[in-house]
Symmetry: C2
Subunit: 147 residues, 2 copies
DNA sequence: CGCCATCGGTTATAAAGTAACAGGTTCCAG
DNA sequence: CTGGAACCTGTTACTTTATAACCGATGGCG
């Protein structure tokens, strides 16, 4: 996962510095969306000088390059699970959708073409040129519904 | 608009108190989404004792009863423009969509059935039981695209 | 070397949201 | 009408989330 990020950065002339790489690793190893300050606490374990700007700057980079997404409803960040699957990352970041389980906190990333199309059509009908889309559905995941 | 809210509250046994009514008025008269603290500043002009809880509690009530919506991407609130059109308000609040112009800041409220259906289908396909949905599209509105 | 751009450390502050308690009001059962 | 429960608001203090501004270090490049 991190190696793929190295490769993607090399290909785009972006610099996945040790700090950025470490933050990406922390986000990826979190089973749930992780907040910037939780990330900061983890980061402090190895970087005593870490402060909010440290983590926010790294997150800005990772967001910009599509390695992580922000879940707006949670003010938290998730690693992109399709970053290594050959999508157009830039586009993906603008159209990704999340299913957020309100019980266990699990977040699943989707990229459903019909959702995207329906939104694009609705926007066009209103004379609106769509850009970045935030689509987040709160509900109950399969596992929690069974239990 | 406010009169309609009075009527809706009376019909549901909810109490649209002077404070809540005033906050709703402030949200409705704002041409753009308005943040809680901007709201607080306006509120202070007539209520010297207003503090964050004052406005957040009023907003909680207004959100719960569907008179306003929160735009997650902006941490700001908009008056519901369809609250008086006989929709099922409770359901509406869970499925409303926003088109947010990044240039002029204008926000248009939508409730597109095909978007909702596409999302419900995508969620079901993942074994997910959907609840409240956040759908926000950032882009350029018709007016700004022309200019 | 001297210059520029990028990165990250550091301090401070802004913006957004909540907890907890106290006093007042409304409303209904008795 | 009285007493208590539920609700509403004032008030203080605090937490969480995010950004501004400044600085030195690093590294490429003419
Ligand atoms: Zn992704
Ligand atoms: Zn779950
Ligand atoms: Zn609405
Ligand atoms: Zn516009």
């Amino acid at each position: 996962m991190l190696d793929a990020a190295d490769a993607a950065c090399a290909a785009h002339g972006a610099r996945l510095t040790p700090l950025r790489r470490q933050v990406l690793g922390l986000v990826l190893e979190s089973p749930q969306p992780i907040g910037a300050y939780a990330l900061l606490d983890r980061l402090k374990e190895s970087r005593s000088g870490a402060a909010p700007p440290t983590v926010y700057r790294a997150l800005d980079f990772l967001l910009e390059h599509g390695f992580v997404h922000k879940v707006e409803r949670l003010n938290a960040f998730v690693g992109c699970r399709s970053a290594t699957e050959g999508h157009d990352h830039h586009d993906h970041a603008h159209t990704v959708q999340f299913l957020i389980c309100g019980r266990c906190g699990h977040v699943q990333e989707l990229e459903d073409a019909s959702v995207r199309a329906a939104l694009a059509k609705a926007a066009a009908h209103a004379g609106f040129t769509p850009g970045r889309m935030t689509v987040e559905v709160e509900g109950t995941c399969r596992d929690c519904a069974r239990g």
